[in-house]
Amino acid sequence: MKIAFLGQPNAGKSTIFNGLAGYKTITANFPGQTVNYTISKVRLGDEIFEIVDLPGIYSLTALDKAEIETRNFILSGQADVVINIIDASTLSRSLELTLQIAELQVPMVICLNMIDEAKRKGLDINSEKLSKIFGVPVIETIANKGIGLDKIFTSAKEAYFNKLIPKMQSFHKDIENYISEIEKIIPANFIPKVPIRYLAIKLLEGDRELFEEMKIYNDLLNKVHKIREEIKISHGSPADTVISSERHALTMNIFEEVTKIGEPTKTLREKIDDILTNKYLGYPLLIFILFLIFFMVFEVGKIIEEPIISIFDSFIQKLPQYISPESFSFFIVKGLLEGFSGGLGVAIPYLIPFFIGLTILEDIGYLPRMAFLMDTIMHRIGLHGKSVLPFIVSYGCNVPGVMATRILESPRDRFITAALSVFVPCAARTTVIFGLVGAYIGGVATAALYFFNILIIMILGAIFTKFIPEITPGLIMEIPPLRIPTFKNMLMKTWLRLKDFMLVAWPLLVISSVILSCLEFFQLDILLNKIFSPLVTWILGLPEKSGITLIFGILRKELSMIMLFQAFDTTNLSTVMTKIQMIIFTIFIIFYIPCIGTIGALIKELGTKRTVLIIIISIFIALTLSSLARLILSLF
């Protein structure tokens, strides 16, 4: 049995999914966290359920790419049961989607999640009444505390085996007449498993995708246009607005019937929220919060890094006592050890505090507030506040960052945001910045690099906007309430992200180290370094030996730095590189060619041509910036 979780953004779908399937998908307190679907099999006794977490969708008229993903999945008719997950505290609005899902005539369960939030707002919802109105089971849950999740499968089974298909709610008589007029002329089985009534309503609403699919049925479309005109004349507003007002009226009726509205409890949260987005205090607080996270990553990272590194160090130093330093096996073992210690000693110490910091920001719900605060600034670079979300996600990893551009409405904004996102120093590059500049030069230089990076991204954005002028309507975004992150979620999410590093990056690191060792054994590294020396020594002014590490960096950015240790055969880089060289190296790493994973994501989101363009731009920028840095820094 395939169960799809369908609901508006930020209703808690992913939280419920994780609660049932184990922590598999990232949840966060902002609308649009999930941008692609995740399927998981869950075994319960001897039954197997397949559950599908989908991106949130405000209505079945998809507005952005993430919503199209959901709509396509639902219209493909794969789901045996749909669980409509509702944020109970926004019940009146959410029911508009419920009405549309009902039009699909698939067995359904309504899940009123966030009952705790609804109570806080003074809403007392009568589930039985709601269940009577739609004729489907209604359950109540508090997903982040795991309350009520056991009812999901039992109610899904009930809906499936008893064929509990939602009762249709009728519009006003004249609209119903128009709907049945259109229903009569839609070719039977136009989209298998999708009811004709749904199609008729979508046509009345002027759904663009559907018009496109039906463009060969000229008579039908002419008729639809005529009816839409008629409605516009008789109701005084466009047909889509009329349908939406009809739905709005229906939902308000249902809402008033099932809900008792009491006094909301005002808490500290509202006061804090008021300060966070205050027009004067908001910005200093924003800088303070980011600085706090930066400081935490820096200090905590250093504390963990030092003891781990020194253990491995002494081990590697003693190695020649056990294996002859000229033998091939010595090179292999050394490569293995160096790759292993690089992951454990240099990357992980910074990744853990960084992921925790990111999670706290996400779960509290600070990101949408950042989007609100940054809207004006983003307009300067031709984007709007929502683009802040992909940028922040990119600090974790560019791959989800590029994918997060799906929450943007216009293709132009998606392109510019994705192109700029790849210059955001991800966790991998953070380990380079902290492990090199942070460890050998200091905190001020590190902070300055981040600041410099933001400045360059802004300038690039301004340049992009010159070439592709702004046509975006601007920011339209829901700001969810602030929430207190649960400790468990924080741990699980950090673990999920760390696991990604351990399973993908770390093995790659070890393998690359071994490859480098082999190259060294056969002295091929010297050849490769010679080939790249014009770039590395002439333009960048770096030691020739660092050339080979830059090649590995295309696989994963942290490889470059970690392999420096191996390439120079040292555990203290300050003996082989000057501070200026470290800064140039780091700047080059931050800006040059995105890693393989990011290139893959770019191709998927933007196509090959644009990806190649972005890569070329990145090489150009990296070279310009690092040679400029070399020039300027050498003056001091």
């Binding site: 507005l63 505290s89 507003s237 609100f372 809207d375 307009h379 601007g474 339209i476």
Partner: protein
């Protein structure tokens, strides 16, 4: 005619008209903003920044461009 941009903090307004294209209208409807609805301004636009509204207990941020397309009438 007043739009959402020139309303002060903490004021309640009624939405009279939403100009602008089909897409914008739809987007606003999805977030629960309809003609005739009553909304509270939580943060008015500051230096060309967005407006923060409360509608049926949800907060929605609207960029200045969009806010200027929504005609409203002040209540009380």
């Amino acid at each position: 005619m007043k739009t959402l941009v020139n309303i002060n903090d903490r004021k309640k307004v009624k939405i009279l008209k939403i100009s602008g294209g089909h897409r914008i209208r739809q987007h606003l409807q999805c977030l629960g903003i309809h003609i005739g609805d009553i909304v509270t301004i939580k943060k008015s636009s500051f230096l060309g920044g967005p407006v923060l509204l409360e509608i049926n207990g949800c907060d929605v941020a609207l960029g200045k461009g969009i806010a200027s397309k929504i005609e409203v009438e002040e209540l009380e």
